[in-house]
């Protein structure tokens, strides 16, 4: 089948290490997004998968066959993968039809079948009318659709996409996002989708791999990334999460814990095997905070540093806590007015105890998916 196993892959260019001990195990037909800041090695990982770059150490299996390992390198044309490039990479001297049909021609598919297949995929991406145009005469969105059709026509079991929407405007992105989802549903192909836009990743993917400086920090379902970040970096990166210190963590062994946050007791979520600790960092999203009708007992005092109108709600940036104030943000339902400097009371309704990095570093952080 078309699952992908990436096992402890290292890749360096000269002396710069770009990928370090990257491991991912992707199920057949899964839609995986790779999310990370610019320059963290996403494209390099994709190019290793596609076979454009050899790996220095580790192993890549596609569909059960080892395609990359030190001393073994299956060239890209024999891997049977589809690639959608950020800049589309359409051949400018060929028309839309010729672009889409090229791979089939190379594969020796007889002409009648080839034409039928090309016509069908062009219909799917709604480009039937533009079939004889040159890429230069298409808009960006149309070009990306042609690139997609080129992949579809090959019926590849594995499709790699490198920031396919990065060059497009917001409206087109929405439309094409749906197109990708439909493409995935229709083809059942394993998709490996690179992006630096987390909304895109969280919306499209079955699982998301968060990358930072050549390492995979966490590989998990979107809601798990959001609700149970494995490290401070992931917690700060996903959503609008803030990382806040907490004391006196007392887990109950079922995934709940009592703790003191900003001087007040709070009930938090934690890993079932979490141990009692004196100190921990917790991840807080804006929705975890609530504004209390002041003054209430056991409330966290705060003052507003900035309030912005966001349509359906009011976004407040606050400094909370007395001893060492922490910056937090929260959303307040629409009919509300806050002004700068105003003193308010907050309650922490939820939060996630980030697992102890000292305990984690002994095992491999990148293997959380196993």
């Amino acid at each position: 089948m078309s699952g992908i196993v990436i096992d402890a892959v290292d890749k360096s260019f000269g002396r710069t290490e770009v990928l370090r001990q990257v491991s991912l195990s992707i199920e057949p037909g899964e839609f995986v997004a790779v999310l990370g800041a610019s320059g963290c090695g996403k494209t390099t990982l994709l190019r290793c998968l596609a076979g454009f770059e050899p790996v220095n150490a580790g192993r890549i299996d596609i569909g059960g066959e080892t395609v990359s390992a030190p001393g073994r390198h299956l060239p890209p044309e024999e891997r049977g993968i589809g690639v959608v490039f950020q800049n589309y990479a359409l051949w400018p001297h060929m028309s839309v039809v010729q672009n889409v049909a090229y791979g089939l021609r190379i594969a020796g598919v007889p002409k009648p079948e080839r034409e039928a297949r090309v016509a069908r995929v062009l219909e799917m991406v709604e480009l039937g009318a533009l079939a004889s145009r040159r890429p230069a005469d298409l808009s960006g969105g149309q070009r990306q659709r042609v690139a997609l059709a080129r992949c579809l026509a090959m019926e590849s079991r594995v499709v790699l996409l490198d920031e396919p929407l990065a060059n497009l405007d917001v409206h087109l992105r929405g439309a094409l996002e749906e197109e990708f989802a439909a493409f995935h549903a229709r083809s059942g192909a394993t998709m490996f989708y690179i992006t630096h836009d987390q909304a895109e990743a969280l919306a499209l993917a079955d699982r998301v791999a968060v990358m930072d400086r050549g390492r995979i920090l966490q590989f998990d379902r979107p809601e798990a990334l959001f609700r149970q970040p494995a490290s401070e970096t992931v917690a700060g990166f996903i959503g609008e999460g803030r990382v806040v210190p907490a004391h006196d963590i007392r887990p109950d062994g079922t995934g709940r814990a009592q703790a003191i946050v900003l001087g007040q007791p709070a009930l938090l979520r934690c890993a079932p095997d979490e141990k009692p600790r004196a100190q921990a960092m917790i991840s807080v999203q804006p929705a975890d905070l609530a504004l209390l009708p002041d003054p209430a007992p056991a409330a966290i005092p705060a003052h507003v540093t900035r309030a912005t109108f966001r349509g359906a709600y009011l976004r407040a940036e606050v400094m909370a806590g007395q001893a060492a104030p922490v910056a937090l943000s929260l959303n307040i339902a629409a009919p509300a007015s806050l002004c700068r400097g105003q003193r308010i009371s907050l309650a922490l309704r939820d939060g996630w105890v980030i697992p102890d990095p000292a305990a984690l570093s002994s095992s491999q952080p990148a293997r959380t998916d196993r």
């Binding site: 454009f52 001297h93 090959m154």
Partner: protein
Amino acid sequence: MLLALFVGVLSIAPLARLVSAALLPQGSFDAARIGDLLGGRRVVEATLNTLWIATASTLLAIVIGTLAALLAGLTDMRRRTLWVFGFVLPLMIPPQVTALAWVQAFSPASPLLGPLGLSLPPGTRHPLYSMGGIILLLGLYNAPLVFLSVRASLHRLPASLLEAARANGARPLQITRDIVLPLVRGGIFAGAALAFVSSIGNFGIQAMLGIPARVSTLITLIYRQLNTYGPSALNDMALLALLLAGLTVAGMALTGWLGRRGDQRVDGAQRAPRMALGRWRRPVAALAWAYLALCLVLPLTALLGTALVRGVGQPLGADTITFENFANALFHHEGIRQAFFTSLWLTTLCVAVLIPVSVALGYVLVWRHGWVARGLRLASELAYALPGIIIGVAMILFFLRPLPFLGTGLYGTVWVILAAYLSNYLALALRPILGGFAQLDRGLDEAAQLTGAGIFARLRDIVLPGLAPAAMASGILVFMTAINEIQTSVLLVSSRAQTIGPMIIFLEEAGSTTLAAAVGCLMVALVLALMAGSLILGRHLPEGVLPWRD
């Protein structure tokens, strides 16, 4: 203003004079004379020969140059840098030397093939003294032009286009056929245009091989016309030169048009990855190096072999080896020594004039716009593209009559040659400098302008420091081209003013082949020394100005 005058006097006026001498010999248009001359059997034959030679040799150059560019630009062949140097080197060797070297290499008395038992039986006609020989040598000589142009296109090819094809299952040869070749088409045709123009105007090879073989071409016809006397000789020559210019421009226009149709502008920041040759690496590399051995090493060794014996045909051995020819060329032969020094100072002066002019002209062309700028540029490009011999004819006509203020004519003096050089090489000097200007930030100059610096202060303090590498590259190119130049000066040299370039032809015509070979060897040595020197300086030069650097 001064600049416009410079270009005007050196490029436009002589060409205008050429046109008027050709078409209006006595101040009136005489269609019958033109018809008679151009319809004559000799001229028609020479024209057809010229066209056939230029076309066939261009095709040869396209095939070889494109293959070489693909090899050097897309594969992982080892030692590419050295190979590219060797492949581009023949372009820098004066064509008359190339021709002499090839003739020596394949003559029945070849000093190289003889000992190997490969040489032709004595008494057979030399295979290179033929139409085919001219085509072969011109094709090989111009292949680097196509190579450079195609390689430049390859460098602009986005990597992802090739990777997309691989992901679609295409193998390297299929990618080359379906993706690479269609996309570098523009480069191939641009190179073909250069090769065509260069073939048409290549006097060295056409004269060295064509005159003994009695294959008449336009350029040799013009050359021989100079030696016939008669009332209309000069005007006839002008007309032939105009015909040659017409063919050149037509060829350029045709290839330009062919190349533009369906031209694909692609531009990629990322270099395409090299394709692995795999198990073909050894055979391909062997073939590539064998090509260099056959087309570069063999002729040059033969040339050296001939230069080291006393008479042509003598076997080279411990008892026959002699350095007499080199000693003669360097110290004893008065004519050669003088010609060499004339060439040297003419070239130096030419560089010294052209570089400042080009810098000033570049400033105007790049940072000012308008029709004057465009006109100047076009005129200089035209003077460069036209075969040098046409400039030679134009200069003869222009300077034949006494100059208005000096009272004497310059004809027959070195100054005409200098004028011809200046006119011919302005565009060559200008190109790297324009490239240099394009890399300079206009804002720097404007910022200096705001502080109140005048144009000369700005040129000196702001522009020149940034432009120095480009100016240096341009100086090297002009120097290397002009020092061994033949096309222009072959018509302009006289007993009072000799240059080194045509010397080989004169020596060969006079039967001193071994001496000619020695002079040829010295010229090649000079070229190699200059190229090596420029490579050492090369680190400071902008990328792409030195064609022999990979």
